[in-house]
């Protein structure tokens, strides 16, 4: 049992993160063409709205919640000292968790029932959706059945995650958790593990740069004035579109 626990909560997280980092970089550099969100809106636009919007918005909120609890556990706990604030966090988490669930189910329904969408569905898409579904169901279950996660996450899970970051894994608290929560943790690392192999990779290339770049982009093969300078070495500047 302990061996399994050690594997799931010590070895697997490291494997997942390493695979994520190496895999994403490799895919981005070597197979840039495959890095795409593979939107299917072009084939079906109406039903998609009711799936993709709740799914993504919910996911963003829920992810940020987890992330803040992980990064700033102390602040999180201080915030929770007033019960009503704790309640707000819990309710928000549940509501957006359910939003993700509704979105995901409607996306899966669309994927299975629309012939055009089926035509662009791969086995990996199904696998990803099932994995996400399991994860979201577990998440909602935890929110309902294992109260005040907004407090016990920063209190006991954050230290565990930080211990992983610091390469000194402390697993006592995790080993003692109920199996539902354990599954949720394993699910989370499985998703991290899967990113480089699936369409999930698109979140890594979220185009935030757009906000700061100018509208128009012109690319010169070379620095256009340098072309005529015979004294410049020919390999001085790399072409930008290469």
């Amino acid at each position: 049992m302990n061996a399994l626990n050690t594997f799931l909560f010590v070895a697997f997280p490291y494997v997942a993160v390493i695979v994520f980092v190496v895999g994403v970089i490799y895919r981005y550099r070597q197979k840039g063409f495959t890095v795409s969100s593979l939107s299917s809106q072009f084939l079906e636009g109406r039903q998609l709205f009711w799936g993709t919007v709740p799914f993504h918005i919910g996911l963003l909120v829920v992810f940020c919640g987890h992330f803040i609890a992980f990064v700033l556990p102390q602040a999180n706990l201080t915030w929770n000292t007033i019960p009503i604030r704790l309640l707000i966090l819990e309710v928000t988490a549940l509501v957006f968790g359910l939003t993700v669930l509704v979105g995901l189910v409607s996306l899966m329904y669309r994927r299975l029932t629309n012939a055009r969408i089926r035509a662009v569905t791969t086995k990996m898409d199904i696998a990803v959706e099932l994995l996400l579904l399991a994860q979201v169901v577990l998440g909602c279950w935890i929110a309902l059945g294992f109260r005040w996660g907004a407090s016990w996450f920063p209190a006991s899970l954050s230290p565990y995650l930080w211990s992983l970051v610091k390469l000194t894994p402390e697993t006592g608290a995790v080993f003692a958790l109920p199996w539902v929560i354990k599954l949720h943790i394993v699910g989370a690392f499985s998703i991290v593990f899967m990113v480089p192999f699936t369409r999930l990779v698109h979140f890594v290339v979220a185009p935030l740069n757009y906000l700061v770049r100018p509208y128009q982009q012109v690319m010169w093969n070379w620095d256009r004035t340098a072309i005529r300078d015979p004294s410049a070495p020919w390999s001085k500047a790399r072409p930008k579109n290469n």
Binding site: S37, S39, R224, N241
Partner: protein
């Protein structure tokens, strides 16, 4: 002055016969692939008509192009911040049914069906799902259907016409139409580039071709919305957007693009224009009435010494400047003022120009008393109880072009943001050239008429002959003046030669010859 060079195009609409050879040439080379079957980087539309995708010109539906916002301009349906806020679901995104569902036929059924009482048929099947389907649309679905209520009358350009004008246009015996071949305009102020959140779309500095980097596109699909000409297409299979590449591999090798090379009517011209890039933003944000003339103004004279000097300083090759001087597009667009961009009010500053068609306009309409003629007709003869007289003699039309059977306003809505004077000028010039040539070849037009026509349009007999030459007699090399691409540079647009220097040859790009140990 920031001089740049742009490969630009002119389509002479009087010469287009609507044969779609151009579309097929393009399809065979570039879009005959899964996910791209529905794309027609080059398509030919019948005007008046709804086009492809249906009613693409109506930006209330598609939200493409730029619009004035405050002092400047901004993208209508994409841009900052909509390109990010609508990233999960883009409410202005056309779907495949706005174009058409690509189809083929089950031809094998014709051969393999078991013997029976009925003829076997080849049923249409969808190229997306492979299931049998009913065909509802095609890429040129309204081809030649110019009088029909479902298509011609839904043309968005009819809107600014009075009901009487519209009615007149669709009277059976007045009806006329023309063809409008379209490719990507390789705009100076491209909306597709501006809308792309990942920055995958760019304009090539050297020749102005607008391209989508397939390795950087992430299927955020904002360009599909933003391009008002709907010339950026989403490949549903690869999850990447694609668009006309102006056959840049051919251009770099000195060949004309496939659509132009194959054009049966020889309507297409390609050449370099030099322009002042400092003025792009200014011109694009000008008042609607001024956009066209200011776009013309920013095109520079390639013979002007200061322009040449500035061009050289910007690294524009001598061969390119040469090409700009011989450019047929410079002649049509700037020197003769004969061509206009399509829908300049979208403010993308298109670099594909059209010589407006004279043929559908030809014939002026006047009221005449037809009663005597009608009375003399056999009662079973079909006749229309109207009193129009169609005068198809060119000379008569010259003075009355405003009363042409095809309302000038319609042409103006297409080519000059509604300004009839601009289209009228150009049509009159075309007419004057005709009169002049008629006098030269047939001789039945009085000299006064001709010289008056030439004088009012500001042409000399010499210019008229030049226009005639480039319109009717031009050879391949007159129509396509392609600057030398400097292969040594062009190659490196695709691949950085430094990366493979010292490697083993024969295609083993990454394997360096290393000594074993």
């Amino acid at each position: 002055m920031d001089v740049r060079s742009q490969i630009s195009m002119v389509f002479h609409l009087d010469k287009c016969i609507g044969c779609h050879t151009c579309s097929i040439a393009c399809k065979n080379i570039w879009t005959d692939r899964k996910g791209a079957e529905y794309m027609w980087w080059n398509n030919v539309e019948t005007k008046p008509g709804t086009g492809y995708p249906g009613k693409w010109e109506d930006q209330r539906i598609y939200k493409g192009g730029w619009e004035k916002k405050g002092d400047g301009i901004d993208l209508k349906g994409a841009g900052k911040p909509q390109s990010l806020t609508n990233i999960f679901h883009n409410p202005h995104m056309p779907v495949i049914d706005d174009y058409y569902e690509p189809f083929t036929y089950k031809y094998l059924d014709l051969i393999e069906s078991p013997a029976g009482d009925d003829q076997p048929t080849a049923r249409p099947i969808s190229m997306i799902t492979g299931e049998p389907m009913d065909i509802k649309m095609g890429p040129n679905w309204d081809d030649d259907l110019s009088g029909t209520p479902d298509y011609a009358r839904k043309d968005p350009n009819l809107e600014k016409l009075s009901p009487a004008e519209q009615e007149a246009m669709f009277q059976m015996e007045r009806m006329a139409f023309f063809y409008l071949p379209r490719i990507c305009n390789h705009c100076l102020n491209p909306a597709c580039v501006a809308s792309c959140p990942s920055g995958a779309i760019y304009k090539r500095g050297e020749d102005g071709v607008v391209l989508i980097n397939q390795s950087v596109c992430r299927a955020w699909r904002m360009c599909v919305t933003a391009c008002p000409y709907k010339k950026s297409y989403y490949n549903w299979n690869t999850g990447k957007s694609e668009k006309c590449i102006l056959c840049y591999p051919r251009i770099e090798a000195g060949h004309a693009p496939a659509c132009m090379h194959s054009c049966v009517g020889r309507i297409r011209y390609l050449g370099v224009l030099l322009y002042d890039a400092d003025r792009i933003e200014d011109v694009a944000s000008a008042d609607e009435a001024e956009v066209v003339s200011r776009q013309m103004d920013m095109i520079l004279d390639p013979f002007d010494p200061p322009v040449i000097e500035a061009a050289k300083q910007n690294g524009i090759a001598d061969s390119t400047i040469d090409a700009a001087q011989y450019s047929p597009t410079y002649k049509f667009v700037k020197r003769w003022n004969l061509a206009l961009p399509l829908h300049p009010e979208f403010r993308t500053l298109p670099m594909l120009f059209y010589v407006p068609p004279l043929l559908p306009v030809m014939a002026s309409v006047t009221k005449a008393d037809n009663t005597a003629q009608s009375a003399g007709m056999n009662p079973i003869a079909k006749h229309w109880p109207d009193s129009w007289l169609y005068d198809t003699s060119t000379a008569a039309l010259f003075g009355t072009i405003d009363e042409a059977r095809f309302p000038l306003q319609y042409m103006a809505n297409l080519f000059s943001a509604g300004d009839t004077a601009k289209v009228g000028d150009r049509l009159k010039k075309l007419m004057a050239v005709r009169l002049h040539r008629r006098r030269v070849t047939v001789g039945d037009v009085a000299e006064d008429t001709v010289s008056e026509a030439l004088a009012t349009t500001g042409l000399t007999p010499q210019t008229a002959d030049d226009i005639y030459y480039l319109t009717s007699l031009a050879q391949f090399d007159d129509r396509f003046v392609i600057p030398a691409a400097h292969r040594e540079q062009a190659l490196e647009m695709m691949e950085f030669a430094g990366d493979v220097k010292g490697n083993t040859g024969f295609g083993f790009k990454n394997a360096t010859a290393e000594r074993g140990s």
